[in-house]
């Protein structure tokens, strides 16, 4: 494979040891490309460990703006002997491998079809720095400097970023720049440079920003007016709560130092969702963030909230589960768990953001929907979206926007009503009116509870009352179908009866795959789901296509199952494209899977 003159189109993979300070150096590298106006997409692949195990950071640079993960590493920067064999194997033929040549490589590791770029990083740092910790940290800056010379990254951009990063610790700026300069100098004196692929300044970023999805969800919760957050630490959702804390400490503290918010680290996920439900019942906007194992523990409470009709927002940052092994890898595998969480007849709306911008928007939407529908709303993100930095549209807020707090009665409303019943369907949409404790001295009180109550809110065990309530909840579900965000539908330039359906972090890779397939003469219409229950638009998309590829990141085709179950689709029309190896899905994988499937069906 030739790699000549490929400007702004390559993948660099960093192989590090976790806990060695490589993360900030790697981010610096990615951000320098962003600052040069070129689309970039970094992804962390890290172990469930704090120090000492292999961790990888992949940076895809794409002039065309493709932000999904791409197979094929053009340049691997390896500073971890533990994973060296695997790292050398990961490089595409014709590619490059940068390594610390302080110690020579074993001969049997060498490959004829790639170029080895040896830089004596440890030797350079040992000569330059006395403190062992500095020797380790600045080694990372040496390779960033070396990369700038190899890939034509403007050194001034790196200097600027380092100055911004250490603005409050100015003493650290010169030694960091010095370390990068040492890397540049070594490359200029000893190695062929620049490489046949590299970075060239462009203006392709527009006003886009770089941020992770968990921070964006947290910011969304701030703008949605959430005042109570209850959570329990679990990868990969922990940073949602931490970011909420951090934004609130900037944006929600009064001049007297008191806080317009309360955050509790609960004793477990059961308590976390219980607190969020209690707060919502009492008229505050509250949420929790967790991952699959947490959703499992929250099941009983989710059913209670469904039946008692209490709003609550749950952000599920999905990962591979359960227990140990792959909790730090990504997946979209909580769909059926979340959709039908709890015992009895229950189902819950889900929202599927695909970018940090959408994490913000859909988190705000989740709070409005929860209050409007008086039911749990799940925001389904995943580790890739939540914990990786993404190039994304800037956040937008309209100051004239008002929050939809739903059907809540004030004391005046209650005085004006001849009679109040908590579960009366006055408007015919299945959604009753609720009251907040403490509103009125003599009117509107009720006891929130589980399965059965009369429409007036009185405890009952009568079959007809139970059934009546369940039918109203079904009507409410129908109302939800029209309130959740619509799907995003793209029609191919060439008319086709084939469709592709995807959601969440599969989006970037799927859109790229659609371009690749179109170029191969396989046009696809595309439907990006943004919510469950599926609206009429999704039903129409399915109706108007003969064959639909459902692309998702789990083993069992969970979204396909939901489509079949909820829309009554003939299963043969929905063809699964499934990635479940724990790494973000790639366009290449989708393209190959669909091509294979098409070939099989045409030759069969």
């Amino acid at each position: 494979m030739s790699h000549t003159s490929r400007t702004n189109d390559f993948v660099v993979r960093f192989a590090n040891v976790n806990g060695t300070g490589s993360a900030s150096a790697n981010l610096l590298f990615a951000k320098s490309i962003y600052r040069m106006g070129v689309p970039v997409s970094p992804k962390n692949i890290f172990p469930s460990n704090i120090q000492g195990l292999p961790t990888w950071y992949e940076v895809r640079v794409s002039e065309q703006g493709y932000l999904g993960r791409r197979d094929g590493v053009d340049l691997c920067v390896t500073v971890n002997p533990q994973s060296l064999v695997e790292d050398i194997r990961s490089v595409v033929p014709g590619g490059y491998l940068m390594y610390d040549s302080t110690k020579p490589l074993h001969e049997e590791m060498l490959r004829e079809d790639i170029t080895f770029l040896g830089i004596p990083m440890m030797q350079i740092c040992t000569a330059e720095y006395q403190d062992p910790r500095q020797r380790l940290l600045f080694k990372n800056m040496v390779y960033v400097g070396a990369l700038s010379a190899l890939l034509n990254i403007e050194f001034g951009v790196l200097e600027q970023l380092v100055s911004e990063q250490f603005a409050s610790k100015a003493k650290l700026i010169p030694p960091n720049i010095k370390a990068m300069q040492l890397g540049v100098d070594y490359v200029r004196e000893h190695l062929p440079h620049p490489l046949p692929f590299g970075v060239e300044r462009r203006d392709l970023i527009g006003d886009r920003v770089i941020i992770d999805g968990n921070s964006a969800c947290a910011l969304g919760a701030v703008y949605a007016g959430a005042t109570v957050a209850a959570w329990y630490p679990i990868t990969p959702s922990t940073s949602v709560a931490e970011a909420f804390d951090s934004y609130c400490s900037e944006l929600r503290v009064r001049p007297d130092g008191t806080r317009n918010y309360a955050i509790v680290q609960a004793e477990d996920e059961l308590a976390a969702i219980g607190m969020a439900i209690g707060a919502n019942w009492n008229g505050a906007r509250a949420f929790t963030a967790t991952s699959g194992p947490g959703v499992s523990l929250m099941n009983e409470f989710l059913g209670l909230a469904y039946f008692a009709e209490i709003p609550v927002v749950l952000i599920d940052v999905q990962r591979v589960g359960p227990s140990t092994g792959m909790p730090t890898r990504t997946q979209q595998s909580d769909l059926t768990l979340a959709a039908y969480a709890s015992h009895g007849d229950t189902k819950h709306p889900m929202l599927f953001p695909s970018t940090p911008t959408e994490c913000f928007d859909l988190t705000v939407a989740a709070f409005d929907l929860a209050d409007r529908l008086q039911t749990p709303i799940m925001v389904m993100t995943d580790l890739d979206l939540g914990m990786n930095d993404h190039l994304t549209a800037p956040f937008h807020w309209d100051d004239t926007r008002s929050l939809d707090l739903g059907k809540v009665l004030t004391a005046e409303d209650l005085d004006a009503l001849p009679k109040y019943g908590r579960y009366l369907d006055t408007d015919g949409d299945g959604i009753p009116y609720r009251t907040i404790p403490g509103t009125h001295p003599t009117k509107g009180a009720y006891v929130a509870r589980g399965t059965s109550r009369t429409r007036m809110g009185v405890y009952t065990e009568k079959s007809e009352d139970y059934q009546d309530n369940m039918e109203r909840l079904t009507l409410k579900w129908t109302t939800a179908q029209s309130l959740v965000p619509a799907a995003e539908i793209h029609h191919s330039a060439v008319p086709t009866r084939d469709g592709m359906l995807y959601f969440g972090t599969t989006t970037q890779a799927a859109m790229e795959a659609a371009d690749l397939l179109a170029a191969q003469g396989q046009p696809l219409d595309q439907c990006r789901l943004r919510a469950f229950p599926f609206g009429a638009d999704v039903a129409a998309f399915v109706e108007t296509h003969d064959r639909i590829f459902v692309v998702e990141q789990n083993r069992d085709g969970q979204m396909r199952q939901l489509l079949i179950a909820e829309l009554g689709i003939d299963p043969h029309r929905l063809v699964s494209v499934l990635n479940f190896d724990g790494k973000p899905i790639t366009a290449d994988f989708i393209t190959k899977s669909i091509t294979r499937s098409v070939t099989r069906s045409t030759t069969a």
Binding site: V209, I210, I211, L219, V222, G225, T227, V228, A230, L251, R252, T258, R259, N260, Y261, A262, V264, A266, E267, D268, L270, A271, A272, I273, G274, M275, A276, I277, G278, A279, N280, W281, N282, A284, A286, F301, P394, F395, H396, W397, D399, S402, L403, I436, P437, G438, T439, H440, P441, T442, A445, Y446, V447, R449, T454, V458, Y459, T460, E461, K462
Partner: protein, 350 residues
């Protein structure tokens, strides 16, 4: 079945300072077994709220699952209630309390709901010192599933079916003390004279108020050999009261008494007067309360009354530095930073 109590009451029922009669604090007709200790506790709650001049809608009634947790339907009919899931009343109450610090949170639970399935949430609620009253209606058995032993059943206690409980009981009051509970009391459902003032003091306390109330189960744990039966508790208390057991009676009053009374002045100027009969016990000294409880247990006595209180420990809102205005009253202006703040955030992400 749904039950509605007749609404008629005598027109000249006494009224409290707010003009409410006791009827205004009542709830629906109880569906518990006739003679259930829990109904006496419900009656004590009605009495205490009436005497405390509490506006009924300023109370939130919280419960989990079990016979005890059904009781919120039987008192304070003008208050909102939340009959949540088994063992999880503390977390729901924590959330509710975070949302609005101005209501009185009256949580009821049972010994199964607290000492078994809900133990985790119970201990963390004590730790966080949320401002609530936590009543355990403790009958040593699972009533609603027909009489299985609970974790508070005493070792050697005989169930109705004749089996002998082989496990040591969990002492909930002792545990609450150990965990730093800031108001820990013990009482008996049959002793209204003690329970009503205790409830009043608990509602008055600005932190976690725990009352473990022995409340016999007439149907499944009122047999000979049970240590939570009416007969056992009454006989035992009577016997110990005349010899050496000492119910530590409390009542809120503004007057000092002489002799065996100890007056505890509260931060807001009101006073709890204790008829102090355990000579080496000081309600403000946790170690002394723990010692007294241990001594009583060793001698097979049930120590009742206010065991310990600490007004100085900050409650959860104080720990979190929450604003004094209830969070559920904050509006758009307090909560939404607006477009210009978001623009600044965007700028920091480039």
């Amino acid at each position: 079945m749904s039950y509605v109590k007749p609404a008629f009451r005598h027109p000249e029922l006494p009224r409290n300072e707010l003009g409410y009669t006791k009827h205004d604090y009542e709830g629906g007709l109880s569906t518990l077994c006739a003679g259930c200790g829990h109904d006496s506790i419900s009656a004590a709650i009605v009495q205490a709220c009436f005497e405390m001049n509490i506006e009924p809608h300023k109370v939130a009634k919280m419960s989990g699952i079990g016979c005890s947790s059904k009781t919120p339907a039987y008192y304070l009919g003008h208050s909102h209630g939340f009959n949540s899931v088994h063992g999880r009343m503390p977390s729901v109450t924590t959330g509710a309390y975070l949302a609005n610090r101005d209501l009185i949170y009256l949580g009821v639970s049972g010994d199964g709901d607290t000492a078994s399935i809900g133990m985790g949430q119970f201990v963390h609620a004590v730790r966080r010192n949320l401002n609530m009253v936590y009543i355990v209606m403790n009958n040593g058995c699972y009533g609603l599933t027909k009489g299985q032993d609970s974790a508070t059943a005493d070792v050697g206690s005989v169930s109705k079916a004749g089996s002998v409980n082989p496990f040591d009981a969990i002492d909930l009051a002792g545990l609450a003390l150990e965990l730093g509970g800031t108001f820990v009391a013990q009482s008996f459902s049959g002793d209204k004279h003690q329970l009503v003032p205790l409830l009043k003091a608990a509602m008055h306390h600005k932190g976690f108020s725990f009352i473990n109330v022995l409340s016999p189960c007439v149907t499944f744990n009122n047999n000979a050999g049970s240590t939570k039966s009416y007969d056992w508790v009454r006989d035992h208390m009577e016997a110990t009261a005349t010899i050496d057991l000492v119910p530590l009676r409390t009542e809120i009053t503004t007057a000092y008494d002489d002799g065996a009374h100890q007056s505890v002045e509260l931060h807001d100027g009101s006073t709890i007067v204790l008829e102090k009969l355990a000579h080496d016990w000081n309600p403000r000294d946790r170690n002394s309360a723990v010692r007294a409880l241990h001594a009583a247990r060793d001698e097979g006595r049930i120590l009742t009354g206010l065991l310990y209180m600490d007004e100085d420990r900050p409650n959860l809102h104080e720990i979190l530095h929450t604003t004094s205005e209830p969070l559920n009253k904050l509006t758009h202006v307090d909560l939404i930073p607006g477009a210009s703040a978001l623009e600044k955030i965007n700028a920091g992400l480039r």
